[in-house]
Symmetry: C2
Subunit: 139 residues, 2 copies
Amino acid sequence: MSEESLVCAWRELLAKHATTTCALERELSERHGLGMSEFEVLERMVEGGQEKYRVQEVADAVHLSQSACSRLIARLEKAGLVRRGMCEADRRGVFVLITDEGRARHAEARPTHRAVLSAVFSSEGSPGKRSEERSPLRA
Amino acid sequence: MSEESLVCAWRELLAKHATTTCALERELSERHGLGMSEFEVLERMVEGGQEKYRVQEVADAVHLSQSACSRLIARLEKAGLVRRGMCEADRRGVFVLITDEGRARHAEARPTHRAVLSAVFSSEGSPGKRSEERSPLRA
DNA sequence: CACTTTTCCATGCAGATGCATCTAATGCAA
DNA sequence: TTGCATTAGATGCATCTGCATGGAAAAGTG
């Protein structure tokens, strides 16, 4: 892969990430009181098919540091969307489980999430001519 | 595009973004004292072919809010990598230009940046079997 | 068993980001 | 000209993030 196309691919990825993240953050927060990472955590827990998860497990799944994830789970717990408990097997550990309210909130937000993805991924497809060309610093 | 593949594509994008960003941040910071966004700004200014840029112009190019970009430019200025000046045409405005030191730093960091992209994009390509499968919460 | 190292999660802390807001300079219209 | 809406960029503030650290428990070593 040529260096040029490598950089180009990376910039496209950055652009798409920025657009999507921004839209998701806005819509999820406005309509469901959830941040993107929060939604992501709930979704992983719903889809994972397990009941309990370890903090580090969740962190890996959503690409967050262990500390960020710890706090994120704390926020979700305060909101009543997950519960934390002691791990009997390994008493250093903590397990996290999604509550019914958490499942409900996820189910409610899911269509919004999908709609945003659909909108962004289809419109950003490839059609030429973006809205405004403003300078040599093209995004 | 099916909803399932949409979500799948988005997760791949998230994963790649996380991996690359993390690696870039680490390498650029460790070896050149630059954050990823800082490098990005310098690069856009070098490649843009202009001498002066407006703050908002830079912000759009690197997918940052105007406020974040304002502070980022302030950091770069403090480091001597860019200069800010008054815009005679529109005295509300500010122009930003890269200094020789800024060009030098960019040139120095560029190989690192490319190396990281190359490493991440080629290894993450598609080969099956990631290092560890740890749970149903696959990243 | 006593001791050291490692692992798990929480937390102090500093840095970056976005939103809302503020000031100054334009622009437009009466 | 005067007055109001708009635009450019800076800044206060709250939030989120990662790094480094801390305490507790487990695992490894002699």
